[in-house]
């Protein structure tokens, strides 16, 4: 071929799966067979049931795929390919593909797609792995494309820049912002960026000061804003935004304004797949459908890990996913059994209530019934309802709780009054042994039904617990039963069995002790927070720990939590069942050192707990 199409070939080779064909002698012939199409925004590229004969590569712009009921399934942008699933099925497309921006596509004839699909393993692997699974594979090879570290900023820009000339008045600028629905406006002089105007500036510098709206906009803009280049990595944008405490960052390409990056764009990037997952959960009409969707949860988890999300974000996302499954199952149960005869509230307990769920958690839940509950009349309904939900959750990858802390267990379906009486009993006659197994009930969150029932019960617990010193010290003693795996001279103590001899359990000996001791302080404080990080923030503000110690615990929880989450993500990537058992030899020197420090912090805080809530006996 003429080497003159090299620019087109090179562009293709910058992206998977074409990067695997770089050395292929026939690639030039494939490039010659490309047809270039221009699609105006709104134009349909592939209609459902239409015969598709090409693999499409997005050279610029963006394309959305929607399923038959018009629900968005994917949004694809520069460098992504589509149309392959219909080619692999030999023809008709089930999705509709529409350009959502002015788009340029390269259409690669299906014979070339099928040729490489048969000939080049790396090429076919790319299509066989689903979108999420691709991330998983990428993470396993330590080269995550999704990571903010390697994600160029231009891929995050969602629309062309909205600008105004510096001499327009404030009113005009504000009108542009509301018409375009943007929270920031780029101010230019002769097409050069000279400033930024945000919603906050309008509030603080105009409205709050009673400034005349007819002043030119350059008098209130932030002049000479910090900018970033479209080719830079998103991680640099995060650093710039954090260090300057700004939420909008103008992006330049070759010195010209190319767009604005907002914190929202970055967050959206991080949690995309969990969001899709949750919306898919609500579209399922039976347990089998939910079970199918649940297979994607591990991938969403791995994606979050590889996107460098912190433990709080991951815990939050995984809990929302768990809650979404539960809610959908309850809706399905009510469809099958009819509406509930009396108000009730479905409770999440433990990690889900604290929004700290990870990947391998069994279900912990309970039911609060309205005080008008009559066992003879309503008993059967709620027995069936909770069995439907708990067994459904079991099928969706949330195994039945071995301790039977489930709505399915009759003794955990109580009226509000009964619950209050039970908590009273636990708190008034605290025996550590009796409390040991029920600490999970002190973290409750209503997730479905009449949420005021859950609020009333939780409020009751928070008010009562604070005054029961005996109860708090019994809880404190329990919290100290599980100690960090550190021996003399700060070496790790291994507690595994059998094949996993050389491991320790990060959950029971690292995370649980922190959560337990944080819960004691939080209840002692009367805080109504559930999330451990939020509880620690309250504890820090209340200054009940020596200065800096609450912050230490936050870091320790994040550190141990992250090692555990990475361990689980690696297990998933290797096709293993995730667990909490970590071999210290498998950690880097850096991780080992920090883990040791974190354990020391936990041990010290356990000592402090004894001192703060002294109890009788041990």
């Amino acid at each position: 071929m003429d080497t003159e199409l090299i620019e087109i070939r090179d562009t293709l080779c910058e992206y998977e799966p074409f990067s695997y064909l770089q050395e292929d002698s026939q690639l030039n012939d494939m490039v010659r067979d490309i047809e270039i199409q221009y699609l105006r925004k709104g134009q349909v590229v592939i209609a459902p049931d239409e015969r598709n004969t090409a693999l499409f590569f997005i050279r610029s712009g963006a394309v959305e795929s929607r399923n038959k009921d018009g629900k968005l399934s994917h949004r694809m942008q520069e460098g992504e390919v589509f149309g392959y699933s219909s080619l692999l099925r030999g023809g008709r497309s089930t999705l509709s593909m529409m350009a959502v921006e002015d788009t340029l596509v390269y259409c690669i004839p299906s014979r070339w797609f099928l040729h490489y699909y048969n000939e080049v393993d790396a090429f076919s692997d790319f299509f066989e792995l689903s979108r999420e699974a691709r991330l998983k594979a990428a993470m396993a090879s330590q080269a995550s494309d999704l990571s903010l570290m390697t994600c160029p900023i231009h891929t995050l820009l969602r629309r062309p820049p909205i600008t105004a000339e510096q001499h327009v008045d404030i009113l005009t600028a504000a009108n542009i912002m509301s018409q375009e629905r943007v929270s920031s406006l780029l101010i230019t002089a002769d097409d050069k960026l000279v400033g930024v105007l945000t919603d906050r500036d309008l509030r603080n510098r105009v409205v709050a000061k009673g400034l005349d709206y007819h002043h030119p906009v350059h008098t209130i803009m932030t002049p000479d804003p910090i900018t970033i280049d479209a080719g830079d990595y998103a991680s640099e944008a995060v650093l710039k935004m954090m260090s300057a405490n700004i939420h909008h960052l103008p992006v330049l390409r070759d010195g010209q304004v190319a767009g604005v990056l907002s914190t929202g764009d970055l967050v959206q990037r991080e949690s995309n797949s969990s969001v899709f997952l949750i919306s898919d959960i609500h579209k399922q009409y039976d347990v089998a459908g939910l079970q199918r969707i649940s297979k994607r949860v591990p991938q969403a988890f791995v994606q979050l890990v590889s996107a460098d999300a912190n433990t709080q974000m991951i815990g939050n996302a995984m809990s929302h996913i768990g809650v979404a499954f539960t809610r959908r199952l309850l809706e399905l149960a009510e469809q099958e059994l009819g509406p509930a005869p009396i108000p009730y509230c479905f409770l999440a307990l433990g990690s889900q209530a604290r929004e700290e769920q990870t990947i391998n958690t069994d279900q912990d839940n309970a039911l609060i019934l309205h005080n008008s509950y009559d066992k003879a009349k309503h008993g059967e309904y709620f027995a069936k309802l909770s069995e439907f939900v708990c067994k459904g959750l079991d099928e969706c990858g949330y195994p039945l709780c071995t301790g039977e802390f489930m709505a399915m267990t009759p003794k955990w379906r109580l009226t509000l009054k009964e619950w209050q009486a039970l908590f009273n009993q636990w708190m008034n006659e605290p025996r550590a042994e009796a409390l040991l197994h029920v600490s999970i009930f002190f973290d409750i969150r209503g997730i479905y039904g009449d949420l005021t029932l859950a609020k009333q019960l939780h409020g009751y617990i928070c008010r009562q617990a604070q005054q029961q010193k005996g109860f708090l010290s019994a809880l404190a003693r329990n919290a100290n039963k599980r100690t960090p795996p550190l021996g003399f001279f700060r070496q790790f103590v291994l507690d595994g069995e059998g094949k996993q001899m050389r491991t320790f359990n990060l959950k029971s000996r690292g995370i649980a002790p922190i959560i337990d001791l944080v819960r004691v302080h939080s209840l002692g404080l009367g805080s109504s927070k559930l999330n451990s990080f939020e509880r620690l923030a309250d504890i820090e503000a209340a200054e009940i720990l020596p200065k800096g110690r609450a912050r230490d615990l936050i870091l320790a929880l994040e550190m141990i939590g992250m090692v555990r989450i990475r361990h689980q993500a690696e297990q998933l990537a290797a096709g293993e069942e995730p667990d909490n058992k970590v071999d210290p030899e498998s950690l880097s020197e850096f991780e080992r050192r920090h883990l040791r420090d974190a354990f020391v912090i936990v041990a010290r805080q356990q000592d402090f707990l004894k001192y703060r809530y002294p109890g009788k006996g041990n």
């Binding site: 620019e7 047809e35 105006r40 610029s60 002015d102 788009t103």
Partner: protein, 224 residues
């Protein structure tokens, strides 16, 4: 083509008038709807702008229709100039003297090129270069000038964005190929390569049609 001043006036043909027939074969009928018309995007790089003294250095073309650009029809030629290539134009085109020393003479290229334009409407960005240089080359090689209907993407852009001077403020809208493409969100290509510029021009025309032209209108509404 920045080296041309935008203010320079060119004598366009009266559009209602059928262009003079061109030499190799007939073009498409004047009433062919734009959507059905075979098009070919053409770009010629030269040693300078004086068509009497400067030479063609490279030619790129690609066939297209409104539904797509077929890369397998793309062609690219270098041609050996008779005059010495100045170092400035070497820099612009990224073509070296040794590339050109090996290149075929102009008449070989013209023999291959003209049949590929037959039956199609030629699309170029700032069509004067292509029209004038090809006419002169044809005169040299065949003894008479070619003349064929053309569509000019720069002219379309100028008409679209034309504003009398009293309405202009600040910087004027650039109608250069690169700047025009950006208005339609088309990607940035390496400029001044005859084939990539021809492809870029074909893409631009597709975008222009999507925004400004009527695909069902007769081709004679648009050709020059």
């Amino acid at each position: 083509m920045a080296w041309f001043s935008n203010t320079e006036k060119f004598q366009y043909l009266n559009r209602s008038e059928q262009p003079k027939p061109w030499l190799p074969t007939e073009g498409p009928a004047a009433d062919t709807p734009l959507a059905e018309c075979p098009l070919v995007a053409l770009d010629i790089e030269t040693t300078g702008l004086d068509f009497d003294n400067d030479d063609i250095v490279s030619v790129g073309l690609v066939d297209f229709t409104l539904s797509g650009i077929q890369l397998n029809s793309s062609r690219y030629w270098l041609t050996k100039p008779k005059s010495h290539l100045s170092s400035e134009s070497v820099a612009i085109h990224e073509i070296t003297h040794s590339d050109l020393a090996k290149a075929p003479p102009l008449h070989t290229v013209m023999d291959e090129l003209l049949p590929l334009l037959a039956g199609k409407v030629v699309v170029a960005h700032f069509h004067h270069i292509e029209r004038l240089f090809l006419a002169r080359a044809s005169e040299r090689v065949f003894g008479s000038p070619t003349y064929f209907p053309m569509i000019d993407t720069m002219d379309i852009e100028q008409q679209k964005f034309y504003r009398p001077w009293w309405q202009r403020f600040g910087r004027r809208t650039s109608v250069r190929l690169e700047a025009s493409r950006l208005r339609y969100s088309l990607p940035r290509y390496r400029a001044h390569h005859a084939l990539m510029d021809a492809i870029a021009c074909a893409e631009l025309f597709q975008a222009q049609v999507a925004y400004h032209l009527d695909p069902q209108a007769p081709i004679s509404d648009y050709w020059l």
